[in-house]
Symmetry: C2
Subunit: 199 residues, 2 copies
């Protein structure tokens, strides 16, 4: 059995990443979607191990000390991180792993594991991203401009990503993601058994 | 419009490359399948510009002198080569180009154009390749062993290929080829307009 691979999927606020990921996971049931660990309090309706792995601060710090995270960050006073253990278990079972993380977290992961594949979900245009943020109706005009600026800055630092998937339609974006997953398993390092003639 | 890309597809005798390529071209009508130039005499039923571009030896040498070939070779007294012109015309029209060439030709092309994507069609196993060669019924047992040896040698020099597609079934192999074509167009250099925010 071939080991699974890890794919990082990043994208700016409003690009529609959640919808695309949801559709991808529906279509590829064998994928493991990594569940983050956090120290923020559990909210009503949230399940431990499903929405997050809920940890107290001491445990989180202990996991950091034991190098148990692929990446972690502090955000508004709470810790968030990607536990190595579940990722490795899934990969050992031959499952591909999807990490939904930001650009800075992605850099931490690829620093430790350069073989990780990085995918950035991009809007078809900035005008379209602005339109989607406005349509969502959750942010003030000022906040939308801030989000747009942040997206542009993030985009500039994302030039090292392996792939850019354009979310013009969910159907196209999921099609491109599936193609990337399939193509990455055709890389020579994935097929060494055949290349070396051990079969 | 995005420029097309060139994909080299190689594979050992008996692997079923022609069948796979035929199925791929049926499914992706927009692909341009490169027609080779040759100095060998035209056979009954062969059309100039369809099966080959038929050239006399002087013209072929002139094209070599003018650097009109992406790659060329002499085989049993005849020249064979891939003319640049038709490849470039198709790419300028935004069409992806498929070159069906051997490992040595592939090395010539990637030496000139490192951005060319190389795909090797491999059998699921050597036993299966031997079975297919035997089933074809065109070669003697001795010739089959020669072909197998050649395939193994070729395979060793093919470790620099970008992708290995396993032809276990035509359906799977074509699926992997299509995924590679799609994924390659998600590479950052293909999406610079969006990355640079010029839209």
């Amino acid at each position: 059995m071939t080991k699974g691979k890890t794919f990082i999927i990043s994208g700016p606020s409003g690009v529609g990443k959640s919808t695309v990921l949801h559709a991808l996971l529906e279509r590829r049931k064998e994928l493991y979607f990594s569940v983050s660990a956090t120290t923020r309090p559990r909210r009503a309706g949230e399940e431990d191990g499903v929405h997050y792995h809920f940890l107290d601060v001491d445990t989180f710090r202990e996991w950091i000390a034991k190098d148990e995270f692929l990446e972690y960050a502090e955000y508004v006073g709470n810790f968030y991180g990607t536990p190595k253990r579940f990722v490795d278990e899934a990969m050992d079972q031959g499952r591909d792993v999807i990490l939904d993380i930001e650009v800075q977290g992605a850099n931490q992961v690829t620093g430790k594991r350069p073989e990780t594949v990085t995918i950035f979900i991009a809007p078809p245009s900035w005008t379209e991203l602005e339109r989607r943020l406005t349509e969502r109706g959750t942010d003030s005009a000022e906040k939308i401009q801030k989000r747009l600026l942040r997206a542009k800055v993030e985009f500039q630092t994302a030039h090292t990503y392996d792939y850019f998937v354009i979310n013009d339609t969910v159907e196209n974006a999921v099609g491109e993601l599936e193609a990337i997953l399939t193509a990455e398993h055709c890389k020579p390092q994935e097929r060494m058994e055949i290349i070396n003639g051990n079969n």
